[in-house]
């Protein structure tokens, strides 16, 4: 894979934070960012309209495969250096719906997260994502994302 496309709603805070965070990461392939609000860029993706509704993020592979919502977070993580384990774990059916919460946590750039992930089973990791064990100051951000996932 040479390029993946991340289509995002530029009016969504979570999507903007995710986009900004991705920008600062080391990638194993290029990520092209395309806001929904850029009609000329969106026109390159024939048949995309039906996927945009209800999703503030959509990842598209260079083969045209569409990964909306939670899958988009996991798909993006898979092309980042050092986040392979995150993508593998979050791709599990039980954890996939919680990927946006994991994404919101990652955007906080908290170094404790990787250490925490290593020590947790998938079940514990899911519980951790559900219950946001980080400090109260950060929980508002996550709560907002969490609400969107429900």
């Amino acid at each position: 894979m040479k390029t993946i496309y991340l289509l995002f709603d530029a009016k969504s805070d979570a999507a903007l934070r995710w986009r900004a965070w991705l920008d600062g990461q080391t990638k194993r392939c290029a990520i092209a960012f395309v806001p929904y609000q850029a009609p000329e860029s969106m026109a390159r993706f024939d048949g995309m309209e039906s996927f945009c509704q209800g999703n503030d993020l959509i990842a598209v592979g260079d083969d045209g495969a569409v990964y909306p919502g939670a899958s988009a977070y996991v798909f993006c993580l898979a092309v980042l250096e050092g986040f392979g384990e995150w993508s593998q774990r979050l791709a599990a059916p039980d954890l996939l719906p919680k990927a946006p919460i994991a994404g919101a946590l990652l955007t906080l750039n908290d170094r404790r997260l990787n250490r925490m992930l290593e020590g947790l089973s998938d079940q514990q990791f899911g519980w951790f994502l559900e219950n946001q064990l980080l400090s109260p100051a950060t929980s508002t951000t996550i709560k907002l994302t969490h609400e969107r996932c429900r």
Binding site: D46, M48, D62
Partner: protein, 145 residues
């Protein structure tokens, strides 16, 4: 002249030392070959998985690892030969032999675990970098890529 007969004629102290060296070499090289074969046979499955089923590549890497293993171990066996107490009789010969073979076993053990560590690292890396299996919602045509 038969070399074994020649050995029998030299003084007992020297003969004990020579026999110790001969036994040391046979046992050490034998053990090295046995461990290398075990690694070669059982490590292949890890490597095939690490290289996403690319068997020729896995075989090649496996072979290269084993070559390295032989070089390090036989090199150590050769270098370690002159160190340690010299045998003067049967008792000291056995002591010297067990010390030398014991050291070789420890080195082989360390190398064995080092190889296992490399295999598991490679496998972990391959697993982590494998694309996740995600549900595809559909396909779109991307133009102007």
């Amino acid at each position: 002249m038969n070399p074994l007969l020649a050995l029998a004629e030299i003084e007992p102290r020297t003969a004990a030392t020579v026999w110790t060296y001969v036994a040391y070499l046979i046992i050490s090289v034998g053990l090295t070959v046995w461990v290398a074969r075990t690694l070669h046979k059982n490590g292949k499955i890890f490597l095939v998985d690490s290289f996403h089923g690319n068997e020729p590549l896995a075989d090649s890497v496996n072979h290269l690892l084993i070559v390295g293993f032989y070089l390090i171990n036989i090199g150590y066996v050769a270098l370690a030969m002159k160190y340690g107490d010299k045998a003067t009789d049967a008792g000291t010969a056995l002591e010297a032999l067990s010390t030398k073979v014991g050291l070789v076993l420890v080195v082989l053990g360390v190398m064995h675990f080092f190889n296992l560590f490399i295999f598991s690292k490679m496998r972990h890396r391959a697993t982590v970098n494998r694309p996740p299996v995600l549900p595809v919602a559909g396909y779109v045509k991307v133009t102007g890529a």
